[in-house]
């Protein structure tokens, strides 16, 4: 299978600090890939490098066979490489509908504002925000803002969607709904990479995991073998979590926070 997105030896230095160091990976169409690692590991920086917010100090980014290393964020979204922000970024004084229509019009290439609003309604329906279409974005609660952020990204008709901690700050009921939503997005044929701290989410969604530590990719592979990798346990998951993982048949722990319960 040819790669949709290929990141090839990408590094980014801030002064003498290597925030991301020689990271290479590929996303193949239809995958859901999790990007995990401790705080400050460089996960968000990596997303910023892939979407043109930051320019890599070294290395190349390829999207659909084209070198997109030097792209600007607006070019990334028009190409079909969309992302959400860890801290939601709405257009606060616009309506929810207008927010999503902006995504459809500029990133998604809708022909007119009317068409963009039609597309926006479709995606508001999809994320369950239809009743709030006429409200201003700043009046929404955090879970609704996260949904708005998703709808906005989806309206850009992305081929690859990079989700930066879409579940941070949500309670466990809301997380369940968010997981379901991400599944439905994947079912539409969107390739997804998600940054996530909640192991419950990672294990229930991801086909593959990438683990970042001090800017370096220390492990990648299927979730179970990555979770058992001693380097990952040492850097991120912790021995307590690994012990739980070893007793795979044992009852899951009660907390939702990583290291947390196991899937199924």
């Amino acid at each position: 299978m040819s790669a949709l997105l290929r990141v090839d030896g990408v590094s980014r230095y801030f002064g003498g600090v290597a925030a991301v160091s020689k990271v290479s990976f590929e996303l193949t169409p239809g995958e859901i890939v999790g990007l995990i690692g401790p705080n400050g590991a460089g996960k968000t920086t990596l997303v910023n490098l892939v979407t043109g917010v930051l320019r890599p100090s070294a290395g190349r980014v390829w999207f659909e066979g084209a070198d997109v290393t030097a792209q600007r964020p607006w070019q990334a979204s028009r190409r079909g490489l969309a992302r959400t922000f860890q801290i939601v970024q709405p257009f606060p004084q616009m309506t929810v509908l207008e927010n999503v229509a902006a995504g459809a019009l500029f990133g998604g290439g809708a022909a007119s504002r009317a068409e963009a609003e039609d597309i926006a309604m479709e995606f508001l329906e999809f994320v369950g925000l239809t009743p709030l279409a006429g409200r201003s974005a700043m009046s929404l609660t955090l879970p609704s803002r996260k949904r708005l952020e998703l709808a906005k990204s989806l309206a850009m008709r992305p081929k690859v969607l990079l989700l930066d901690e879409v579940n941070a700050g949500l309670n466990s009921a809301e997380i369940g709904a968010a997981i379901e939503l991400i599944r439905q997005i994947a079912a539409r044929g969107v390739t997804i990479m998600l940054i996530e701290h909640l192991m419950k989410v990672v294990f229930s969604l991801c086909d593959r995991l990438l683990v970042l530590h001090h800017g370096e990719l220390i492990a990648q592979g299927d979730p179970r073998s990555v979770a058992a990798d001693p380097a990952v346990v040492k850097a991120y998951l912790g021995s307590k979590y690994a012990a739980q993982e070893q007793q795979a048949s044992a009852a899951p722990a009660g907390t939702a926070q990583a290291p947390g319960e196991q899937h199924e």
């Binding site: 979407t51 600007r72 964020p73 607006w74 979204s77 028009r78 969309a82 992302r83 922000f85 970024q89 709405p90 257009f91 606060p92 004084q93 616009m94 309506t95 509908l97 207008e98 229509a101 902006a102 995504g103 019009l105 500029f106 990133g107 998604g108 007119s112 504002r113 009743p131 279409a133 006429g134 409200r135 201003s136 906005k152 850009m156």
Partner: protein, 327 residues
């Protein structure tokens, strides 16, 4: 749900309800009143065109520009120099517009990288730099002595009418541009930039190109206005052409009418010119202090301007409450 959409969306098309009668009334002033009133009406049209222009960058895009006088002055000098070189007057106005637009494109590329206060200070510095340039480049601009232009033939009443209608046309074109912009893809992109520039970039708005386009649109009619007023007054000098006071007055007019509203700046210009002519002109010593008072009043009592979203929402909420009581 439909009604909740309309409460937060800006009132669309409502501006035409008062703008069309106002424009018609203005157009009739030189026919029914003497040259003094025609002159005041010319000022209203001129400042309306300038405030509408400022609104593109300051209101729609949210970049507090103080470059208005730089564009007006450039237009005035470009028009004057070309007219003195033998170009027909109207052609010189068009050429001055083009020169100003080109200048704004180059300038915008450089200074739109700055934001907020930095942009404001950068844009006001342009006015001063241009004034100094006009003062020192004597061979082209006449330096501190200024430039004389041919006096328009046919007597002051006739000339007054000609220049009034010229300014009137510029105001109408600027208003049409605002209405178009509000409905256009570019206008929507500019509102995205105004709300959240990073998010705009991320949804696929070409932020730099949009901002530069907005800056050019905000400069175009300033250039025309400058060239027309140069021909009207038939004399220009650096401090008049690149007037710091003008660069401050125009944003105040736009804010008074409602920054970001489509036609509010016209109302702001009208009210401001009337206040200036009736009140400030009687207290010349205090006129600039009164400008300060207007600014303070705006900040405290009318942050959204006469046509701002807040005012409309408040009034319509009050009406809705009254209706609810009656029902």
């Amino acid at each position: 749900m439909k009604s909740s959409v309309s409460t937060i969306q800006r009132p669309r098309g409502q501006g035409l309800v008062w703008f069309v009668p106002l424009a018609v009334a203005l157009a009739l002033v030189p026919i029914f009143f003497n040259n003094y009133y025609a002159q005041q009406a010319t000022f209203v049209c001129m400042y309306a065109a300038l405030a509408l222009s400022w609104n593109v960058i300051g209101g729609f895009t949210g970049y507090p520009s103080f470059s208005t006088a730089a564009f007006v002055g450039l237009g005035a000098y470009a028009g004057a120099i070309l007219q003195n070189a033998g170009m027909p007057m109207v052609l010189a106005w068009v050429a001055a517009t083009a020169v100003t637009a080109l200048f704004a494109a180059v300038l915008g590329y450089a200074i739109l990288r700055m934001k907020g206060h930095y942009f404001a200070i950068g844009s006001i510095a342009i006015v001063e730099s241009m004034r100094l340039l006009a003062s020192s480049w004597s061979s082209l601009t006449g330096g501190g002595e200024g430039l004389n232009l041919p006096i328009y033939p046919g007597g002051p009443d006739h000339a007054g009418r000609v220049f009034f209608y010229a300014m009137f046309v510029v105001m109408i074109v600027a208003a049409v541009m605002s209405i178009w912009l509000d409905r256009s893809r570019l206008g929507f992109g500019l509102r995205c930039v105004q709300q959240n520039e990073d998010a705009a970039d991320m949804v696929g708005v070409n932020v730099n190109a949009s901002k530069i386009s907005a800056f050019v649109l905000s400069a175009l009619f300033c250039g025309t206005t400058g060239a027309i007023s140069a021909s009207w007054v038939s004399y220009i000098s650096p401090p008049d052409a690149f007037s710091i006071l003008m660069t401050l007055k125009v944003p105040v007019m736009a804010l008074l009418g409602g920054a970001g509203t489509v036609l509010g700046p016209v109302l702001g210009a009208l009210v401001f010119v009337l206040v200036e002519q009736t009140l400030m002109s009687r207290f010349l010593d205090y006129s600039q202090a009164m400008l300060g008072l207007i600014i303070v009043f705006l900040i405290f009592f009318l942050p959204g301007g006469l046509l701002g979203a807040g005012v409309f929402a408040r009034i319509s909420a009050r009406i809705a409450r009254l209706r609810g009581v009656q029902a």
